[in-house]
């Protein structure tokens, strides 16, 4: 399907070269996403640093594994491909 660009407010069709370039760009985005999306999901799912430090303090104090469990859950919920 033809793609369009809004050029200075006017809708114009992509040229053949632009279509080819956009196909390649979208393919590269898909490849990168498949390889690295889990890292980005993990990054947002990890507790904040202050929360992690608090977990580690209480784990040390009480002999619990709250911090390790929380990190392990983020990793297992967002596995490497």
């Amino acid at each position: 399907m033809t793609r369009y660009r809004l050029l200075n407010g006017n809708k114009v069709a992509f040229t053949a070269e632009e279509e080819t370039a956009r196909d390649a760009e979208e393919a590269a985005v898909a490849t990168e996403k498949a390889a690295n999306e889990y890292k980005k999901k993990r990054r947002e799912a990890f507790p904040s640093l202050s929360d992690q430090l608090d977990m580690q303090y209480w784990d040390k104090k009480n002999g619990t594994t709250t911090w390790v469990d929380a990190i392990a859950k983020v990793k297992s919920d967002n596995p490497k491909p």
């Binding site: 660009r5 809004l6 956009r22 979208e26």
Partner: protein, 231 residues
């Protein structure tokens, strides 16, 4: 209503100058026209005493255009006039067709997006519960402005971006071509992220335009204004 009606020069139609229904306090208002024609793009102004004269718009920040949903498109592109404007600002809201698309920025030259791997950028994403992360990269073929956004109601990107194109004759070799921005994204789970970022094109170029587009798919909707800041 009183009016002065003037016949068109060729006789096809008329143009009328009309008075208002009533003046403030029923005053007798008198407006005196200028003694000569003005220059191109000047407008009439009053001195407050009924004397009209020609005036030049002295605003340095000028609205170039406002675009409201020009249809599903893969890219939003504008030519820029660097002889008139030193910097440009684009502010608006954008939503992708494809869930979790990113928003990219490209400088443009000779009617083509610049896609050499010389972009570098960093952005700080801040969100509730004292959380944040940093996205930073160099040697990229685009400037990543905002990360994944959702495609449902009230999701998408909100962006306020300033761009400063390099112009021939600028001090130093190609130290311009940078952008700074703040904005937000609302992802496919309707989660909010506040963003501050900056980016640069680290190679020789004198851009004559710019493009923003989703990493994949089209824009589903967009509303934005483009402003120019005079040199």
């Amino acid at each position: 209503m009183a009016e002065v009606k003037i016949a068109a020069d060729s006789g096809g139609g008329t143009v009328a100058l009309k008075g208002p229904a009533s003046t403030t306090g029923n005053a007798a208002v008198s407006l005196k026209l200028p003694v000569a024609d003005g220059s191109a793009n000047q407008h009439l102004k009053t001195d407050g005493s009924g004397n009209l004269g020609w005036a030049t718009d002295t605003n340095d920040l000028v609205k170039i255009t406002t675009i409201r949903d020009g249809g599903n498109v893969a890219a939003l592109t504008h030519n820029i006039d660097t002889s008139t404007y030193r910097a440009y600002n684009i502010i608006g809201a954008f939503e992708p067709v494809t869930d979790s698309a990113y928003l990219y920025f490209y400088w443009r030259a000779s009617s083509a997006d610049i896609t050499a791997s010389s972009y570098e950028y960093s952005a700080n994403y801040v969100y509730p519960n004292d959380n944040h992360y940093v996205e930073s990269a160099s040697g990229q073929a685009k400037m990543e402005v905002l990360q994944n956004a959702g495609n449902s109601d009230r999701e998408g990107w909100r962006l306020n971006l300033w761009m400063f194109p390099n112009v021939s004759g600028d001090a130093g070799p190609d130290i311009s071509n940078f952008c700074t921005w703040d904005g937000m994204r609302v992802d496919a789970s309707s989660d909010f992220r506040g963003v501050q970022g900056c980016g640069n094109y680290d190679a020789a170029a004198n851009p004559d335009g710019f493009t923003i587009k989703p990493s994949t798919g089209n824009f589903a909707s967009y509303t934005y204004s483009l402003y120019g800041l005079k040199a």
